[in-house]
């Protein structure tokens, strides 16, 4: 299955595009998305400061609600990655 990750803040270092497509095993949940992200960062972005991102990020559904690690993702679902925040 494939999900589309909408990038915000430091996660924009993962791609030049606003959306990052990720291939995940069928019936994956958010925990598996974190694992996939961890692998991607260690393989392709090890020089960046994104080492902790797969642990510290939250994820929002299309309804802008936080989704927890047990949330079952749907094929082609659009999910926002929310790295640690700091406005003001």
């Amino acid at each position: 299955m494939e999900i589309q990750l909408k990038l915000y803040g430091s996660s924009k270092l993962l791609s030049e595009n606003e959306l990052l497509k990720l291939e995940l095993p069928e019936n994956s949940n958010v925990e598996q998305l974190r694992n996939s992200l961890k692998k991607l960062i260690s393989e392709k972005h090890s020089q960046s400061n994104l080492g902790e991102l797969s642990k510290t990020a939250a994820f929002f559904s299309e309804n802008d609600e936080v989704i927890d690690d047990n949330y079952r993702l749907k094929n082609k679902e659009l999910v926002s990655i929310i790295p640690p925040i700091g406005g003001g």
Binding site: G9, N49, A57, S80, I82, P84, G86, G87, G88
Partner: protein, 152 residues
């Protein structure tokens, strides 16, 4: 209307303290408190030229409204509140956030202003990328919205 909350795309317009003052102005106010946050020219020993603010627009507006309503319920139901935050490239010296509060008394006006600022920093999905004199840039660390007990 007693509440205005917005993200301002700085390429299109600037945050205006005059607009804020006009919005909160009322003969019922005994106190008006205005906080402006600006981009500073230094952070952790690095010389800063500008900050780019990124934001999850819909979630930010939702959080702004929730924070402001919570402040009203906590301190003064009749307070008038104006809250704007910049989105985009903001050079040193320009406004990144403006909070203006009109209230019956000074204590409530100060408290609401402070409460909103701290809650925005902890709840609103906004990110800062600093730009430095040497041409480098860096996304700043922040506060995770993931529950601490789940971060191992």
């Amino acid at each position: 209307m007693s509440l205005h909350a917005a993200l301002v795309k700085v390429e299109d317009e600037k945050i205006s303290s005059e607009k804020a003052k006009n919005f909160i102005s009322s003969e019922e106010n005994g106190a008006e408190s205005i906080f402006t946050g600006k981009v500073r020219n230094e952070n952790s020993g690095k010389k800063v030229t500008a900050v780019t603010y990124d934001a999850h627009d819909q979630a930010v507006i939702k959080s702004f409204k929730s924070i402001c309503n919570s402040a009203k319920n906590k301190f003064d139901k009749n307070a008038k509140i104006f809250l704007e935050h910049a989105k985009g490239y903001v050079p040193v010296g320009e406004i990144s956030i403006l909070i203006a509060v009109g209230s019956g008394h000074r204590d409530e006006a100060f408290k609401i202003c402070r409460y909103i600022l701290e809650e925005v920093k902890h709840q609103s999905p906004i990110w800062k990328k600093e730009h430095y004199v040497d041409g480098k840039e860096e996304w700043l660390p922040g506060h995770s919205l993931r529950p601490k007990k789940n971060i191992k």
